[in-house]
Symmetry: C2
Subunit: 109 residues, 2 copies
Amino acid sequence: MKTDKLARLQAADWKVGNAEEFLQLSDEEARLVALKLSLISAVKKSRIKRKLSQIDLAQRMKSSQSRIAKIEAGDPSVSLDLIVRALIASGATTRDIQAAFTANERVAS
Amino acid sequence: MKTDKLARLQAADWKVGNAEEFLQLSDEEARLVALKLSLISAVKKSRIKRKLSQIDLAQRMKSSQSRIAKIEAGDPSVSLDLIVRALIASGATTRDIQAAFTANERVAS
DNA sequence: ACAGTATATGTCGGCATTGACATATTTGCA
DNA sequence: TGCAAATATGTCAATGCCGACATATACTGT
């Protein structure tokens, strides 16, 4: 029956679509996570390099010590925005940020 | 009087400190804004290059067409997280993302 | 071992960002 | 021109992320 076949095809499409979609999504998610990890690592390196305490950095970017700790601990409540702001505030050069991305590429691919 | 001098010095420090702080903050803010603009531009380029409509891209990243439009319009309600997720979902390579940062460096420095 | 400093962890009220939706406007093509 | 697809704009309830604070734990020199 026409409707049956259609239903089956749609179901198949739906399954495949979802599987691909799922895989793609987890890949994208993985890339984002890897990127965040690289940037987090860069934040800590940059902060230590400039001999800033977490309190120092927090003051520079008008945040709090606990937020900095959470950034460096990879706490899920920390956004990419905050990580990058910390990176900039810590005195990281644009080259440093690029380097973080490069590191990310090596890991991710 | 000792306390007067101290008070004046503190006041001066406070003023200078705030001025520097303000300048530094706006510089950091400027770098972040420039970075966002570069990434936004990269999103649109990447999406067009892959011949995706805003709806297509929205579905890929489980967002909505209006969000994509807002991303590309530089709407203030859009986070860096969302921009980068769009960039990744649009099929941009890590090299593309790096390129956006490089472009940002040229503009910012 | 102790004190002082740095970092980690948990919590919370409040503001920012979200996807979804409706609708307006623009674009491109027959 | 006029139609259809794409994009833009405005709004809102729900969720996410924020700084701040309290407090715990880990360092570091004495």
